[in-house]
Amino acid sequence: MMASVYNAKDEDGHISVSGPSGGSAAAMRGKRPENTAFKQQRLPAWQPILTAGTVLPAFFIIGLIFIPIGIGLYVTSNNIKEFEIDYTGVDMSSPCFNCSQNLSWNSSRPCTCSIPFHLDQPYENNVFMYYGLSNFYQNHRRYVKSRDDSQLNGDLDALTKPSKECEPYAYHENKPIAPCGAIANSMFNDTLEIFYHDPNGTRVPVPLTSTGIAWWADKHVKFRNPSENLNLTAAFQGTTKPVNWRRPVYEMDSDPHNNGFINEDFIVWMRTAALPTFRKLYRIISKKDNMVPTLQRGNYTLEVVYNYPVRSFDGRKRMILSTISWMGGKNPFLGIAYITVGSVCFFLGVVLLIIHHKYGNRNNSANNSN
């Protein structure tokens, strides 16, 4: 890859000093430095010299490695099926337009809307259902901090005395909020359901699994209900629900293993997104045992209980259906990037080759003249 030189300087002829008067001279040379490779800075070393000739192979090798990887990635990404539907209801024509208007956090009357859609391809394997939000800055500095991990971990003290970080979402009407903080307070609360329109006209609800969507470590270690032995209602006695919530935390789900702090929708929400446009896993459509694809092609309807206001920040809400591969969701970027970088390296390799032939000869000729 590069010209490498090992200098074995440590064997270099050092003037071996045999003092004229032997031992006494040796004793007198107390200040003589030690002749070790390290102290004399003569450690065996590799000295790569970066010139066109030596660097050339590296570029070609990178090109040769990257382009196949890129093609592989690109193909993989293209095999992933993904369907996305924006149900924000910005357009007048949108079914959810009505719901999106005049919506506030505390409106008690749920607004529902249903959006029909068509899947062109059958979706095999597990299909993941996401909700996506745009322009939602879940990564805002103060927002990110506004939580109390101790409380979420079931710490009783923290339950009744939420951390300062939660303020101003720590107490409501002098009662500690559980779960406290702005993240919890702004939890996504739309309900999404999918119905499949049989070719024969019947509306079949697609079964959605609401567990297994959070990290195992979160569900089992990080998030815990306070005093797990007790009834949840009793456990959360003395606290109040977050201001924007409709129901208290202990009424999130009927399943006791998916209720309270360990409700997976809640856990997923609490994992704050990195970028302002993000998606969060909502449900999983498990694959069926037989050869039938998980989602057949055909017509579907998305039923939305429209609770979550996004108009104030010009946000968008989406529902995404996607299969995944070993490298995650659909993302052609990496594949393209690998192909591009590989090609660029290849190209640069050629450039260097030209340079090497044109200018590198100088040194060679000099060498040859010996």
Binding site: K39, I69, A274, L334, C345
Partner: protein, 1392 residues
């Protein structure tokens, strides 16, 4: 200093004098409490004051304040940046590391203080009436102290009594100034003649002396006795703290200065702190970093304001209210944000930068210390780095200012030739002997050691055993002069030099002088004549005048010095050789008595001592001080008696010549303060005129046929650099005349020779001696003139009177003594002159040539005379034979100005407007890429001290510099220490260049201190230069490796490291900056705060330290073979301002890559903030480490290890961190993040592509750079692979032509440009021969002579050029003739 106390009124002047201190004995009064006691405390802190004081000191560093400020910002809740405790951690870490280091150092100081304070000494106790043991710390000013042999003096003590019969005390001052020769100290005059033991109780005098100061070589004061008589006190009366008493059984003194007020302690200032050029440049870029930081913060703040503004009051859910529930206005919010951003971006100005630099520099110093090549075996000394933080400056030097004597030369003075009474004695045999040394020197290791037992030498004459050095048995010399066989002499010389490394000036080369047969014959003749005269009772004046001159010449050589005699078997034991003990008589009265014939004939020997004639008390005994006549009265007596004539012959010394004594004398050892003195004494000894004993008042000399003679030493007028001569006033034992022997530089002595009413012979001698002097100078010998003068009593009395006045005055004593000396040294009679060779050190010409090739301009500043200096300059290749020499000798300001103008004009017309292809006009090349508007030509400039003084005038300095910088080498002769430092300062400040001063003696100290880097030669002239220096070298030649290799390495390493540091931090911080665009400029960071803070401190710290310490861009061999590579450092090519910005750009590019590849890879996914941030951190780390890899030129296992270790460290820390505590470290709470990431293939895919993309441009650029614009350094590195050196050299010089940077000042190295190397084509194996083709310079050989009108008596500038065929050394005669033609002008234009 505790001595700011009201002073006692002085009795005589009756006014308060605040400039003195008064010391009363503690036996009479209460102890002098108002002066500092002898306890020393060098610690900086006490237990209580440590914390505040240390913190206070640390906060003097601006960076520390900045970091603490940022850490404290974290405590402002509104900014809610990091966990405040966490933010404090690195600052506290840095502060505490420094504090612990300081504490440890302080503790060590405390321990040594305690040790010293608890040393014992004998202090007189009033109650017990005897000396009792006390601790040093209990000693007070005014205490009487009894010192025994080999004891260390606890405080500055005024010597009052000594067991030595001569009232002397010998001290060794090695701890103070490193000088190893014994020095004599004298009992205060008034106590000189105490017969019985000194009794402190009887002491009742008061001492007035100057306030404590740090001048080791000055002490002034006087002692006031109870009868209000005053005696002056001198440096010779004072024993300094830290000296060791030698050869003296017992001495008693009174403490004058104690503890911190002692001269030793006042001289004890800690290590110097200099800031290197690189660091200054770096600080500028730190400033730019601050600007970048502020710009980024303002940008973010404005962005945040706008971002908030766009919601126009419709507060979105993610816009969290302030903790108290109130809404923040966009403006307040962005103000807060600004401060938050400063905290978040703080890494841009890295806390670890300064710490890392310190660490790396310490490591570099360690390696320089360890270099075997900088270790001198003969001296057993290695390089010492005394300044720890300017190693990189060594790589950027542009000017070297060198002392000559002892720096370029060995400072081993070897007697070569002499001329006496106009006859030259060439000492050819001696020259051959010296040549043998040189030869054997060059044969290096071949010599097998035979030890010193062999019969060492043949010699001349079977007379008496020759003086031999140390313990070697005395061997009779055979007469076979021819064969100078010196078997094993080198080994022997070497061994001797090792043995004698603690006693200077005693190598056999210096000690053994082979006498000139002709002169020896004359000396013998003279001895015989004297014998004859003595036998027949004839006066000495009947001796033939040439023989008398020879006699006087040798006597002068022997006694006109300050050499101390010791015997070799007890090297520290003074030889006590007083012919007969006589009653100590010390007064002017005694002196007068001795002038009376009665006393002279009374049988008392003429060796009665008189010593330095100061005001003395006359009476004897313990209570002598009480009743003594005043000096005035004695003087009048003297006048009365002066009419009596002196008339006597050899009445004094019996001819006690015996062989045994003579042999004893041969074994004596001489310890001289300056090596030429020793050389002369040894030379005289070769003629059996040897110095056998020196007491303050008497010098004993052994003369052939006459045996021992004692000269009464009346005065010694020591050498000083202004007078350039020294004199002794003695009473000649043979003629009983008062004789002045003067020895000094020929230029001054020649002016003092009496010219009127002298005979023809004298004039002839003068003329011929002058010729010989010129010859000697042409040979590069140091010349000294010896002259004498006899005074009659009248003259002497007249002079003595005024001299005594001068000696006793306190104000302006130096000036008065100086004037007094001037009065004495007039109308001398020339005896002869000596030529002493100061041999060049090994490898000096090569080193100078090499350094010059490296683009260093070398100036030699010497105190020597012009001719000597010029010849040495030729010998050491400072001046080349084909070079033109400009000689500037002016004796007025105007003529100097004219000369300079003329020279400048000459240079310009000669070199700039000429269409010489070899000297490019400055406008075309140099101004475009180099700041120096002047080219350096093949010119040498020689300027003498007087002209230099004019040239350094403010009005002329610019012209002088313009001339001097165009010259390849500059030689300043006859320059004073002050001028040396002025020249350095001028060049440094005006040309803005890096200067290095190298010297070995006290006269170089000021120059060393002024220069950017001061180098001391730890040679023979004591340690003062070393003490003042930043680096101390054993030899001049080591400068080559120090600069070319270590300097280059240190510079390139540090430059790379600093650039890398800036890059690294900018790159890391920019990641967060890009993120602000995606988090509403809210100051959010996707990188966990722990990673953010410890990234610099831990994860990326080690590899750069290793690289900064060990990286070698070019190997040591190549650097030494291609000195041109040094220029990269001179031109700061390792660290140019644009490089900083290029690195910044690269950093921003790389951070963009590291940010956006993960950004797009994770776009619109369900990734959470820190799961996304952790890969970015990883990618940044990998990129940063690989970047270092690209920049690392030499990979040792340390580099591999450190990089792998860093990566391993990061992953293991990250894994541990994310495996513990699921609830801690909010908000990132990285629980299980890393583990999950490691299970995702995407993470690895990112790790593969991102560093590649990030480093692609740099890697490609480096490759192209290597291929197209091969840097000299890279070529040099490549050179190592090539088996033959020359072809590469060719390619380098081609490169050089292309490269503007290189070629700008390349004309300095003529071999590369003037004579473009040519490869003979077809002759495949012929190594390239660089033949110096004749330059146009040499083609036009007609000498150019620019002669000024002799206005103002200025010497003409003479530009003369030597024709090609003439050799500089062709004939001494030619040179001499020419010089003769030019007459007796003091300064001669040097013709080459």
């Amino acid at each position: 200093m505790a001595a700011e106390v009201p002073r006692k009124k002085k009795k005589r002047k009756g006014r308060e004098n605040k400039k003195t201190r008064t010391v009363l004995p503690n036996t009479l009064s209460e102890p002098n409490q108002r002066y500092a006691n002898n306890q020393i405390k060098t610690t900086k802190y006490t237990l209580l004051s440590f914390l505040p004081k240390n913190l206070f000191e640390q906060f003097h560093r601006f960076a520390n304040v900045y970091f603490v400020f940022i850490a404290l910002l974290n405590f402002v809740p509104a900014l809610n940046a990091f966990q405040p405790e966490l933010a404090l951690a690195p600052v506290l870490f840095i502060l505490s590391v420094t504090a612990i280091k300081d504490l440890w150092e302080d503790f060590r100081r405390h321990r040594s203080d305690t040790e010293i304070n608890h040393l014992d000494c004998l202090v007189y106790c009033r109650e017990h009436r005897r000396y009792v043991e006390r601790f040093w710390k209990e000693v007070l000013v005014g205490d009487f102290i009894r010192l025994r042999c080999n004891e260390v003096v606890p405080a500055d003590v005024l010597l009052l009594s000594s067991s030595d019969p001569d009232r002397l005390c010998h001290i060794e001052t090695a701890t103070l100034d490193g000088e190893t020769n014994l020095k004599q100290r004298q009992v205060v005059r008034s106590f000189y003649d105490l017969d019985c033991d000194f009794d402190p109780l009887k002491y009742n005098s008061v001492i007035e002396c100057e306030k404590p100061n740090n001048d080791l070589n000055r002490f002034r004061g006087y002692i006031i006795h109870s009868n209000s008589r005053r005696d002056a006190l001198y440096k010779v009366n004072l024993l300094l703290r830290g000296c060791t008493v030698r050869n003296t059984e017992e001495a008693v003194g009174i403490v004058i200065y104690a503890g911190h007020e002692t001269k030793a302690m006042l001289n004890n200032n800690g290590p110097r702190y200099k800031r290197s050029k690189l660091e200054r440049q770096m600080n500028l870029d730190v400033f730019w970093c601050v600007v970048i930081l502020l710009v980024m913060c303002v940008f973010a703040a404005v962005g945040h304001g706008l971002w908030m503004f766009q919601y126009r009051g419709q507060r979105p859910v993610f816009e969290v209210l302030s903790p108290d529930g109130s809404d923040l206005s966009p403006i307040t919010s962005s103000l807060y944000l600004f401060l938050t951003m400063i905290i978040v971006f703080q890494v841009l100005i890295p806390i670890s930068l300064y710490v890392s630099l310190e660490i790396v520099k310490v490591c570099q110093v360690f390696f320089i210390h360890q270099d075997m090549d900088l270790y001198d075996e003969d001296l057993d000394s290695r390089l010492q780095c005394r300044a720890l933080n300017i190693t990189e400056d060594l790589g950027q030097m542009q000017f070297i200012f060198s002392d000559k004597t002892g720096t370029l030369t060995e400072n081993k003075m070897v007697f070569r030739r002499c001329t006496v009474a106009g006859v030259e004695y060439s000492h050819d045999a001696n020259a051959r002997r010296l040549a043998m040394y040189q030869e054997i020197d060059s044969e290096e290791e071949e010599c097998t050691s035979r030890g010193g037992t062999l019969p060492r030498r043949d010699s001349i004459g079977s007379h008496h055993s020759a003086p031999m050095h140390h313990s070697a048995p005395v061997v009779l010399r055979s007469h076979s002069t021819k064969s100078h066989r010196r078997t094993g002499s080198r080994a022997e010389a070497k061994r001797a030099s090792i043995l004698s490394k603690h006693t200077a000036f005693s190598s056999p080369m210096e000690k053994d002088v082979t006498p000139d047969p002709q002169l020896l014959e004359k000396v013998n003749d003279c001895g015989a004549q004297l014998d004859f005269l003595r036998l027949h009772g004839r006066p000495w004046s009947q001796l033939p005048s040439d023989l008398a001159d020879i006699m006087d010449f040798f006597i002068a050589l022997t006694i006109c010095n300050t050499v101390v005699v010791s015997s070799p078997d007890q090297p520290r034991h003074k030889v006590r050789l007083r012919l007969e003990l006589k009653s100590p008589v010390k007064t002017i009265e005694d002196f007068i008595k001795r002038f009376t014939p009665s006393r002279l004939t009374s049988g008392s020997n003429s060796s009665s001592s008189s010593s330095l004639a100061t005001n003395r008390s006359s009476a004897r005994g313990c209570s002598s001080i009480l009743s003594s006549p005043s000096a005035e009265s004695t003087l009048t007596k003297l006048e009365e008696e002066q009419q009596q004539s002196l008339n006597h012959a050899f009445s004094s010394t019996p001819p006690s010549y015996d062989r045994k004594l003579w042999q004893e004398g041969a074994k004596l050892r001489y310890e001289a303060e300056s090596p030429d003195e020793a050389a002369l004494v040894y030379a005289a000894r070769a003629y059996k005129c040897s110095l056998v004993g020196r007491l303050p008042d008497q010098v004993t000399v052994e003369l052939p046929q006459l045996g021992k003679l004692s000269f009464e030493l009346l005065h010694t007028l020591g050498f000083d650099s202004t007078r350039k001569r020294m004199s002794v006033v003695v009473r000649h034992p043979l003629t009983d005349e008062i004789t002045v022997y003067t020895k000094g530089a020929d230029s001054v002595i020649m002016d003092l020779i009496r010219t009127e009413d002298t005979g023809k012979r004298r004039k002839k001698i003068l003329f011929r001696t002058q010729n010989f002097l010129n010859l000697y100078a042409a040979d590069g010998l140091r010349t000294l003139c010896i002259a004498k003068k006899t005074l009659n009593k009248e003259e002497y009395t007249y002079w003595l009177q005024r001299h005594l006045e001068a000696e006793t005055s306190i104000q302006g004593r130096e000036e008065l003594l100086f004037e007094s000396a001037l009065r004495l040294e007039t109308n001398l009679q020339l005896l002869g002159a000596t030529g002493i060779e100061d041999r060049l050190q090994d490898g000096v010409p090569e080193t100078i040539a090499c350094l010059r090739q490296a683009g260093l301009q070398i100036w030699v500043l010497t105190g020597d005379k012009q001719e000597t200096a010029v010849n040495i300059a030729y010998a050491c290749k400072l001046l080349e034979p084909e070079e033109e020499i400009l000689t500037l000798n002016a004796n007025s300001q105007e003529s100097c100005a004219l000369l300079l103008e003329e020279s400048l004009h000459y240079i310009q017309t000669k070199f700039l407007s000429s269409s010489s292809p070899f000297f490019q006009p400055p406008s075309s090349s140099s101004s475009s890429c180099h700041s120096l508007p002047f080219m350096v030509h093949r010119l040498g400039l020689v300027i003498d001290g007087r002209t230099l003084a004019y040239a350094l005038d403010r009005s002329l300095e610019d012209t002088f510099l313009a001339v001097a910088r165009s010259c390849r080498s500059v030689l300043c002769c006859r320059s004073t220490p002050l001028q040396k430092s002025m020249v350095v300062k001028l060049v440094r400040n005006k040309l803005k260049v890096m200067t290095l001063a190298i010297g070995d003696g006290a006269n170089d100290v000021s120059m060393i201190q002024v220069a950017d880097v001061g180098v001391g030669i730890s040679g023979q002239e004591g340690m003062q230069a070393v003490m003042a220096s930043d680096f101390a070298l054993p030899r001049f030649r080591y400068l080559q490796k120090l600069l070319l290799v270590h300097g280059h390495w240190c510079y390139s390493r540090l430059a790379n490291m600093i650039l890398y540091f800036f890059y690294k931090n900018a790159m890391f911080v920019a990641l967060i900056f890009w993120y602000q665009f995606y988090c509403g400029f809210s100051g959010s960071a996707m990188i966990d705060q722990w990673y953010l803070i410890f990234f610099n401190l831990m994860f990326s710290a080690f590899p750069q330290l290793v690289t900064g310490t060990l990286d070698k861009d070019v190997s040591s061999e190549t650097l030494q073979r291609l000195p041109q590579l040094y220029r990269s450092g001179q031109n700061s090519e390792g660290y140019k301002p644009y490089m900083f910005w290029m690195n910044m750009l690269d950093a921003f590019y790389q951070s963009l890559v590291c940010f956006f590849i993960p950004y797009f890879a994770y776009a619109d996914s369900d990734v959470d903030l820190f799961t996304w941030g952790t890969p970015i951190t990883t990618l940044a780390l990998l990129t940063i480490l690989l970047h270092l890899g690209v920049e690392t030129k030499t990979w040792t296992w340390m580099n591999w290890f450190s990089i792998i270790f860093s990566i391993f460290l990061f992953f293991s820390v990250a894994l541990c961190y994310s495996a513990t505590c699921p609830t801690c470290s909010s908000p990132s709470n990285p629980y299980w993040t890393m583990h999950r990431l490691l299970s995702e293939p995407l993470f690895y895919l990112l790790c593969l592509i991102t560093p590649v993309v990030a480093l692609l441009p740099r890697y490609f650029y480096r490759a192209c750079q290597g291929a197209l614009f091969a840097s000299p350094a890279g070529l040099g590195a490549e050179l190592k692979t090539g088996p033959v050196f020359e072809p590469h050299f060719l390619s380098l010089s081609e490169l050089v032509k292309k490269d503007c940077k290189m070629s700008s000042d390349f004309s300095k190295a003529p071999a590369n440009q003037d004579t473009a190397p040519q490869v003979k084509e077809g002759t495949g194996r012929t190594p390239l021969v660089v033949t110096p083709a004749s330059t146009p310079l040499q083609v036009q050989t007609a000498g150019v002579q620019v002669t000024l009108p002799p206005a103002g008596g200025s010497q003409p500038v003479k530009y003369s050029r030597k024709s090609e065929e003439a050799e500089p050394w062709q004939s001494d005669h030619a040179a001499a003739n020419e010089k003769q033609q030019l007459g007796a002008q003091a300064s001669l234009p040097i013709t080459v």
